[in-house]
Amino acid sequence: MGKELRLMKGNEAFAEAVIRAGADGYFGYPITPQSEVMEYLMAEKPHERTGMVVLQAESEVASINMLYGGAACGKKVLTSSSSPGISLMQEGISYLAGSELPCLIMDAMRGGPGLGTIQPGQADYFQLTKGGGHGDYNLIVIAPSSVQEMYDYVEISFDLAFKYRNPVVVLTDGAIGQMMEKVYIGDQKPRLTEEEIREKYPWATLGKTPDRERNIITSLDLDPYRQERHNLHLQKKFKEIEENEVRYEELNCEDADFIIVAYGTSARISQKAMDIGREKGLKIGIFRPITLWPFPKKEIRALSEKVKGILTVEMSAGQMVEDVRLHASEKIPVEHYGRMGGVIPTPNEIVEVIENLFVKG
């Protein structure tokens, strides 16, 4: 944890973390509720601080493809957007995954469908954890639940992106993006030089030198057997990620009768619900997936064998609940409670739902 303490919005903490992680380029398009990211970056003049490029693109479609161009050169690149913008990016994300390019995509979710609302939502779970674009691929999806985590997960996400040559999504929502909390700021990491990139990422298209063949970054292969082999290679990689990169947090799960599974803003609210419930004598625990993909399957399974019921709390009609049901024991009820359209659930509502579903029932 860094030494310097600041009071920041989640979006600003994310933007500061990006500069300090040694990112090379940000390409974005304004959309509420995350426009502070580009505003902060432009105001900070990262070109003077580290040499980082910040460019406002003509659309989300262009910005995600700018990521493709930069990532293919081995550069640390990112974008940020919100739900409708992420829908527009899905084609580019599929190309990035197909071409095995590392990059960071931040999604501050808002309610949908369509233009929906500018208020917070969590209904992008399906479109980001299940692929989203065409073809068989997965994204590493990380869900911070505090401003500090908005800062901390930037560097971790870049590391994972380059470790696996795969896009990583920081999936947050309008509430965490907009709220202010204290945040510890880390040290400035240097950006890689071209020589360092050539050495670390020999696949990068930085110009063909006499000592190697030309580098080609493409997702195309018209030979069906080679394309299938490429797909098998991707699947092997995704399996490796599932085995090694699951992250989660447990709160009061040891003695719990009932578990709330929630991430992001919903997890924060559920903490309060847990406190209220425990005062009433309800033994509530919280299981918070930090990686939504890879999903903590085994952990959900193990926990479900010890408790009387699981409730997922999401700002959606119930998306993550499908994964929880898939992996939880069939012997206990797995229920969902959600608010939509930008409505944020209250702690008391959640306690009431638990009482009605698991205690009175």
Binding site: E58, N65, G69, A72, G92, L206, G207, K208, I216, T218
Partner: protein
């Protein structure tokens, strides 16, 4: 003494009159015989070779007939989603301003699905070179109407000829981008005769040289035939191109040194 010369004598460097540039690979071109893509690939690679820029060059292949350009061009290449090559090139050039970057795109890619990316990259004055192959048709997918298809011209999706009330007018993308302040050199060329090839190569060389000076977008359109899409022999396709395409897409410089030299 024999008056026949041996192979070894022929291969002497002083006897070589023409040699395929090493920047073209030995892969067999996937283009139809008579198509302008192969020639344009070659002169582009000759320019990169002659300027000694292979180790500093990054090219972008589009979606369309030239999607496999990276099989033939011996430089580092990226393959872009349909129409998005200017977005890729923008990022590469911003992150690596001293590299030589070109996007190589057809008319469907550049003038239909990628219109926004093209116009905004040109308007921002991005310092890369666009090579725009205009053959008035979607070749790869089997000869459908393109934004550049001439009025009255038949294609598989305008089987009775393009009729503007229903199908819109052909789009002069090159004239359009020439009007934008971010473009510095805009020209229209062809590769159907040796003289045209020499001119087109000169134009590409000029564009790449200007790119080194970071003066803004350099944009070279190459009007080309598509004998298979047009359903003509290569010879007839070139004749048809001269008689029909050139009057609507006249050859020559449109913008030089940042100034329009032709009314657009």
């Amino acid at each position: 003494m024999s008056d026949t010369i041996t192979k070894e004598q022929i291969f002497k460097p002083e006897n070589i009159v023409y040699k395929k540039t090493d920047l073209m690979t030995d892969n067999v071109l996937s283009y139809c015989p008579g198509c302008g893509h192969g020639t344009t690939h070659r002169i582009l690679m000759e320019v990169i070779d002659e300027m000694g820029l292979q180790s500093e060059t990054i090219g972008i292949a589009p979606v369309g007939c030239s999607v496999l350009a990276y099989d033939f061009m011996n430089v580092d290449m990226q393959q872009a989603a349909h129409g998005r090559a200017p977005a890729l090139a923008t990022a590469i050039k911003r992150l690596l301003p001293n590299k030589t970057v070109f996007s190589y795109q057809g008319d469907g890619d550049l003038a239909a699905i990628g219109t926004a990316e093209t116009i905004h990259a040109c308007n921002r004055g991005e310092n890369f070179t666009t090579i725009f192959i205009n053959n008035g048709i979607y070749g790869m997918t089997g000869g459908q109407m393109a934004p550049t298809t001439l009025e009255g011209m038949k294609s598989s999706t305008s089987p009775y000829g393009r009729e503007w009330h229903a199908m819109g007018h052909p789009l002069k993308m090159t004239e359009l981008v020439a009007r934008l302040p971010g473009t510095y050199y805009v020209t229209r060329q062809a590769v159907h005769t040796p003289a045209a090839v020499r001119k087109a190569k000169k134009a590409i060389r000029k564009a790449i040289e200007l790119q080194q000076q970071k003066v803004g977008m350099t944009f070279v359109e190459v009007v080309s035939n598509c004998n298979s899409g047009w359903k003509m022999t290569p010879v007839n396709a070139n004749k048809w191109m001269v008689e029909n395409m050139f009057p609507f897409y006249p050859l020559g410089d449109i913008k030089v040194d940042g100034k329009l030299v032709k009314e657009v």
